[in-house]
Symmetry: C2
Subunit: 321 residues, 2 copies
Amino acid sequence: MNILILGGGGFLGRKIASQLAATGTLRGQKITSLALADLAQPAPLEAPFPVTCHAADITDRAQMDALVTAETQVIFHLAAVVSAHAEAEFDTGMQVNLFGTLNLLDRARALGTCPVVVFTSSLAVFGGEVPDPITDWTIPNPQSSYGAQKAIGELLVNDYSRKGFIDGRGFRLPTISVRPGAPNRAASSFMSSIIREPLNGQGAICPVDPDFEHYYLSPRRCVGNLIRGAELDAAALGTQRCMILPGRRLSIRQMIDAMTAVAGPEPAKLIRWEPQPEIEVIVKGWRFDYRPDKALDLGLAADAGFEENVAFYLEDDLPAR
Amino acid sequence: MNILILGGGGFLGRKIASQLAATGTLRGQKITSLALADLAQPAPLEAPFPVTCHAADITDRAQMDALVTAETQVIFHLAAVVSAHAEAEFDTGMQVNLFGTLNLLDRARALGTCPVVVFTSSLAVFGGEVPDPITDWTIPNPQSSYGAQKAIGELLVNDYSRKGFIDGRGFRLPTISVRPGAPNRAASSFMSSIIREPLNGQGAICPVDPDFEHYYLSPRRCVGNLIRGAELDAAALGTQRCMILPGRRLSIRQMIDAMTAVAGPEPAKLIRWEPQPEIEVIVKGWRFDYRPDKALDLGLAADAGFEENVAFYLEDDLPAR
């Protein structure tokens, strides 16, 4: 089994690679090679099979042709320009998220080998005045260019699969928490940092009230779902190969209570409550009432409770002291 | 008001042009010019304003740049490779339906003039195992490349509108009946020809049983809706600018009864019933249970009954003896 991870330098790509290195198999077969590709060459990875690391730009068709070969059997496509970036730089978002994805799909089509393509979409495809709850049959109505480009990617993955050019499957990721690393300028950044920083012994600011609800999935569970997603039998997917990845709807209060249950009362004391209306206005427009029935039926899973998200962070990502 | 019709040589584009020539106004303003563009140069049209006719290929950005100018205020975008063609020639469908549409949208964006764009989508965006009824909030799940390309066009029209590059609105056309002209090789061809040919005094074959149901709109009402669609206030459209155009769900029996009510008993006698399983298997996969609530709320309208469709054909399209 020869695998390629586009976006293999990102934190999810890296975790997928580590998990594959740990198990050594995918789709019931021994992994024979893994290629990690990202804009900047990913760092080497220890594995029981050969791992190659590539600096590659998915907007360059020739580079994609070199990367995706007749031997490539499974492709995890995580390469993307994220929400705020795609909104600020419309052309960059279109080039990477739309035309980059087309470069991958057209390369696969040209090869005629019908590789498995795992496409990471986002719950950002949903929005606007579409009524709750949001199901797998709800119209994507994105309120960002990132969401629009991901929704277009879903349609392409479905049509290229229907035509037999790829064996695609797409998963709309919930907000990942607890996300490792540093806070960033995304409006959602606090949804990890109010847990991560206190667990690291540092202060954090919560810009919304404790009743604010959102929809979350841990990195570990996300990686497990994407790998399981690569293993799903195409026949089980039906005509719509893209689906909501299961998450948990949680209030900030529930998240903090879970942190306290796992790590004791000290971390919560490091949170300062500072309402930030400019953050609130963005995140209160986001949706949280999802029914990921299809993925649940296919055996994909949410975290059992936010205690798991906290425990997974401590086990997988807590920086060494 | 300067207007451009892409696909201005097709029967709907031509009917829109004739209607504009008859009224002389659009969006409450006097029409000052109309440009008709199609792959083959459209025939001249008599009108109380200047009409220019252009041979143009929407897949050629330079030709689009010449056609769409800072003076262009309203664009009817009907140019497309149709269903069977886009399915047989995947690249052609992508080039015309996806990249051609992008050429238009990117030209409008470059101009910075935010023209009104009326995008003709199709009920072919819906399909697969999505549950009935199909509403404006149902996920497009196309089962053809044509449908996929139209669904992508909808997402682009929405996002380019959200960004202020265009003032877009999209309408998913029901099956048009009674369509003028000759039968073609589309699976839906009989849905017009079983009415049109008998009204013309000619024989026709019905390949499905009288209980077969589908969803129809007359050409006259379709044109009225698209013109009204161009006139809608952007604020009334909300965040989702694409909608199902109202039609009528009718059985073949109801259509023939309406023809008899309007034109007497003779035409129906010209229909031969010859089941064609290869046609049936295609058209029985199509959907007919639609709820076009948004368009109805905005004042768009279905035909009152199929008697109208028959009468409109006799008034508008019956060939001269």
